[in-house]
Each structure stands twice: as structure tokens, then as C-alpha cells.
């Protein structure tokens, strides 16, 4: 017992100093203003401030689109590349390549590609015969441009998890279903997807957490604009802490974000719960 703790000691010390202490400090400080206890004032301020409420709303909308989009794309690609094409490992490697590009770097490259006047994306659209688009400088398109960048960077990563989940499913089960006369879609819906549910739940939850905390594309490209249309909570929190020097408000906002995240993740686990009978 004592020996076990000696081995765990360095990790436990780090756990206390870089996880627990800051969490407790943030929680306590979220009820303070300039060091004075003010009860729920910071939380009341969050509920009364239009920009912050807007950030919460934008974050929810962003996640409502980006998570299903990424997971459906990753799932379709995984199903396609697991056994439906020639040279599957070639396509897998190519689609996985963006994972090696750090998100901030992908952001920078796409930021240049999305420049309205001389960017690569508009050059490509023009080549297809489509008119140039404003992308990040348009209030209507900026959030979708961020979704586009995040998906380019993320889909290949989640696809790899789903492929490895699909490979775990015993061939014999699928063959048995096919012997019973089930076609591809029938086998997919009644055998493959139910058996993939655990992996799907993991991927969906991990993706959701990553997207709720998305920061670098906003900070590098839009700074929350234009007209706060890309003002996600993580960036709003960062701004409150470092630009407006209101750390306590930032902590309260972080706690709100964590609370939202916990609710969403719980719902997702409920949704994809593995039934014992299945």
C-alpha cells in the first residue's frame, strides 16, 4: 500500500496542484468581486449581459451543428474505408493527415485560404463557376467557416477511432445476418451500429468536449466577430480574464461552461447507452 503510493506520488502531487487547487480557487473566486464575497453577483451578471448570453447561445448553436456533422462524416468515412473500397489504407492515411497539423496551424492556413480577395478557396469556387464568398468577414458565414475548419482538422481523427471500433466487430455476426438474408443496410442497422454504440458514445462525447472548448480558430481569425457572430464561450472567458481583467467573472463563466458541458455529456451517454439485452 505505502509502496503503491510512492509510485503514484508524483502524479498525485501534480493532480493536487494543477487540477484540484485551481478548480477550488476558481469555484471560490467565482463568488467574489475584487476579492470581496458578493454571492451570486457574477452569475447574475452573466444572465443579464447580452454579449455573454449571446456567447452561450452561439456556443450551443455551434455545437448543435458541428458535433453531429463531424460524427456523421467520420462514421460514413469509417464505414466506407473499413471494407467497401480498393486501397483502404491509402485513403485512411490521406484523410488522417490533417491530424498531424496542429489546430492553430490548420487555422492559419485556412485563414489565408479563406481571404475573400486572393484566397485559395475563392479561387477554387471561381474555378467551379461559383462567385467569391466573404467567409470569415461575413456575419452570416463566419461561424460556418469556423465549423468548416474544425471539421477539416477533426474528422480524420474521429474516423480512426470508429474504424478501430468497426474492426472489433466479429465478422461471423455479420455473416450470420447475411445468411439470414439481411442486406448491407439491414446488417448495418441491426448488427453493426448497435455493436459500435460504445465507440460512438466515446467519440461523440470526446468530440463534443473538444468543440465546446474550441479556442484557437476564434482567437487567431475572428476575435469573436464580425458582430460577435463567432463569440464562443471559451474566447469570451479568455477576453474577460485577460482583456477586461475580470478574472472572477471569467471563473464564473468557466463554471457555467462546465455545468453546460456536464448536462450535454450526460444526455449523450443516455442517448447512446448500451442496453444489456442488446
Amino acid at each position: 500500500m505505502a509502496v503503491a503510493f510512492l509510485f503514484m506520488m508524483p502524479a498525485l502531487i501534480l493532480l493536487v496542484f494543477i487540477r484540484i487547487v485551481p478548480s477550488v480557487q476558481a469555484f471560490v473566486s467565482s463568488f467574489q468581486f475584487r476579492g470581496e464575497f458578493v454571492g451570486l453577483d457574477n452569475y447574475a451578471f452573466i444572465l443579464s449581459n447580452d454579449r455573454i448570453l449571446g456567447a452561450i447561445q452561439t456556443t450551443l448553436m455551434f455545437n448543435l451543428i458541428v458535433n453531429p456533422l463531424q460524427i456523421i462524416l467520420a462514421l460514413l468515412l469509417a464505414l466506407l474505408l473499413v471494407d467497401r473500397v480498393y486501397a483502404p489504407s491509402l485513403w485512411r492515411v490521406l484523410i488522417f493527415m490533417p491530424v498531424a497539423v496542429p489546430l492553430s496551424v490548420a487555422t492559419i492556413v485556412w485563414g489565408i485560404a479563406m481571404r475573400p480577395d486572393d484566397g485559395m478557396l475563392n479561387a477554387f469556387l471561381n474555378w467551379l463557376g461559383i462567385a467569391s464568398q466573404p467567409f470569415l468577414v461575413s456575419q452570416d458565414q463566419a461561424l460556418f467557416s469556423i465549423i468548416f475548419i474544425a471539421s477539416w482538422a477533426g474528422v480524420g481523427y474521429w474516423m480512426i477511432f470508429l474504424i478501430s471500433g468497426l474492426k472489433e466487430i466479429p465478422e461471423s455476426l455479420k455473416e450470420a445476418a447475411q445468411l439470414d438474408g439481411a442486406g448491407y443496410w439491414r446488417t448495418l442497422i441491426s448488427i453493426t451500429l448497435p455493436l459500435l454504440r460504445r465507440t460512438l458514445a466515446f467519440v461523440l462525447v470526446a468530440d463534443t468536449i473538444a468543440n465546446f472548448l474550441l479556442f484557437s480558430p476564434i482567437q487567431i481569425l475572428t476575435r469573436g466577430g464580425p458582430s460577435n457572430s463567432t463569440n464562443l464561450i471559451m474566447f469570451e472567458t479568455y477576453r474577460n480574464a485577460f482583456a477586461f481583467n475580470d478574472l472572477e467573472l471569467a471563473y464564473a463563466l468557466m463554471i457555467v461552461l462546465l455545468a453546460i458541458l456536464m448536462v450535454v455529456v450526460t444526455l449523450q451517454f443516455r442517448l447512446l447507452r448500451t442496453h444489456e439485452s442488446a
Binding site: 490533417p98 492553430s104 496551424v105 492559419i108 492556413v109 474528422v155 465507440t199 472548448l213 480574464a241 468557466m254
Partner: protein, 274 residues
């Protein structure tokens, strides 16, 4: 047969979507700025092919503070992998080889606490780091990356698969726990150590928010932050931006490609399907 060909075509087109931006970045890094824009208006295939092998962008990049930033990133990432593997494997050993009451509870606490997303506590942690004046240091850059819940989880799963008889045999020979740890467990766990090392490396190489918050001294900037700051300048040089982006992507690619199977294995091993 026809269906398979059709699906292969879909896979090919999808791959283009993911790979073309990377080819564009690479090709643009290898041509002068004027050429970058020429190949785009109108768009020609050249934009995605490194037809010119002009290294001036890389040479110009060497003049500024970017090489220092890349070096900082390499030091921070390697430090994270080395220290992180030591700390995580020791913790995993304590949580798998040695039997004690409440082991499962300690394990759950450790893994769950480290799985709470780092971003959530990074702002208060950055405040603590600044108050203690250890900001602008390698140690403050490295520390948050070294104790990784996923790495501990992964190593523990692997350690649990090592036969108990090996421990008992070593104990009969008079070996202590420390000897069993580095003499038996670590040598047997190379695949898991590589997988965990990759997770630690990628996490740290990608980090952006944390260095942004705790580094104010430009000479301590890590490369992603240095590159983003450069983009924030009014008239940045496109060629150099691309060259900088290529360097930052090439290093993890060179590490990931030969080791990708360990990464995939570790994903499977982490038992997300159990």
C-alpha cells in the same frame, strides 16, 4: 465490383478535400510570394504541386525569432514526453501491479480528474503560475502536459495484462518493487509506452491557449503562438507563413507516420469498447 469502384472514387475525392490544403501549404512554402498568387488567379493545378523548389521562404524564416520558437516547442514537447512517461508509468504501475484496498477508487479519481478538460482550469492555473512568478519558464510550459489521464489509463490497461507470475518469480529472486518496475514492466511495455508517448507529444505540440496565457517574453514563445502572432501583424509575408506552417506540421508527421500503428493500437487497447 462497379459499386466498389464507385466507392473508391468517393474515397479519392474525399481524400482530396483533406490533402489538397496540405499540398497547397507545402507548394506555397516552396515558391516566392508573387508566384503563390499567380497560381491562384486563375486557379491552376500548379497551386497544389511543388513545381518550384525555392527555399528562400525558409531561409528568410531563419533570420527572425522563429527558429528559437521551434526549438522551444521541441524542448517543451520532448520534456513532456520524457517526464510524462516517467510519472504516468510509475502511477500506472502503482495502480496495477501492487494490490491494495481501494485501488479501483484511487484509479477512478486519478483518471477522472485528469480527464476534466485542461482548458477549464487553465485560466485559474495561469493566475497561480503568474502569482508565483514561474510564468515565462520551460517548467510552466511543460508541467500541465506531463500528467495525462489517458496516458495513465492506457499504461495501466497494458500493465494489467502482464502475468502476475513474473512479479512473484522476481520477488522470490529478491527483487524489490522498483526493480520489478524498471526491470520487468517497462521493458515489456514498449508498445504501450510509445502509444502513451505519442499522446503526450501530440497534446503538447498542439497546445496553444496555455502558452498564450503564461508566456509574455517573446523569446519564450512556442512555435504555434509565434506563428499566430506573426499572422496578426499588418503585412505578413505569405511565403514565410507557409514555411512556418510546414515546419510545424512536418515534425509531428515524421513522428506519427512510422508510429501510427502504435497510436491506433493504443486506441484499441484503451478499451473504449469494453
Amino acid at each position: 465490383m462497379i459499386q466498389r469502384l464507385l466507392f473508391t472514387l468517393v474515397a479519392f475525392l474525399t481524400s482530396l478535400f483533406f490533402i489538397l490544403p496540405i499540398l497547397w501549404m507545402l507548394s506555397s512554402a516552396l515558391r516566392p510570394q508573387a508566384e503563390i498568387f499567380r497560381t491562384l488567379s486563375p486557379l491552376s493545378v500548379e497551386a497544389f504541386l511543388p513545381t518550384t523548389l525555392d527555399t528562400s521562404n525558409f531561409q528568410n524564416l531563419l533570420q527572425g525569432n522563429y527558429p528559437r520558437a521551434v526549438l522551444n516547442s521541441v524542448v517543451v514537447a520532448s520534456g513532456t514526453v520524457v517526464i510524462g512517461l516517467l510519472i504516468s508509468s510509475a502511477a500506472a504501475f502503482g495502480l496495477s501491479a501492487i494490490e491494495f484496498r481501494g485501488r479501483e477508487v484511487v484509479f477512478a479519481i486519478v483518471v477522472i480528474s485528469f480527464m476534466v478538460p485542461f482548458e477549464v482550469i487553465s485560466i485559474p492555473l495561469a493566475q497561480i503560475v503568474r502569482e508565483n512568478r514561474i510564468n515565462n519558464s520551460f517548467i510552466s510550459l511543460i508541467l500541465p502536459g506531463v500528467a495525462n489521464g489517458l496516458a495513465i489509463f492506457l499504461l495501466r490497461q497494458f500493465f494489467l495484462g502482464i502475468p502476475r507470475e513474473l512479479i512473484q518469480a522476481a520477488q522470490v529472486d529478491g527483487a524489490g518493487w522498483w526493480k520489478i518496475f524498471y526491470g520487468i514492466f517497462l521493458p515489456l511495455s514498449k508498445p504501450a509506452l510509445i502509444g502513451a508517448g505519442l499522446i503526450l507529444f501530440i497534446w503538447q505540440w498542439q497546445s496553444y491557449l496555455w502558452p498564450l496565457m503564461i508566456i509574455s517574453d517573446n523569446s519564450m514563445d512556442v512555435a504555434p503562438v509565434a506563428l499566430a502572432k506573426y499572422m496578426g501583424q499588418f503585412d505578413f509575408d505569405f511565403g514565410q507563413m507557409f514555411a512556418g506552417a510546414v515546419i510545424l506540421s512536418l515534425i509531428p508527421t515524421l513522428i506519427l507516420l512510422p508510429l501510427q500503428r502504435y497510436f491506433t493500437q493504443s486506441i484499441t487497447l484503451s478499451g473504449i469498447k469494453e
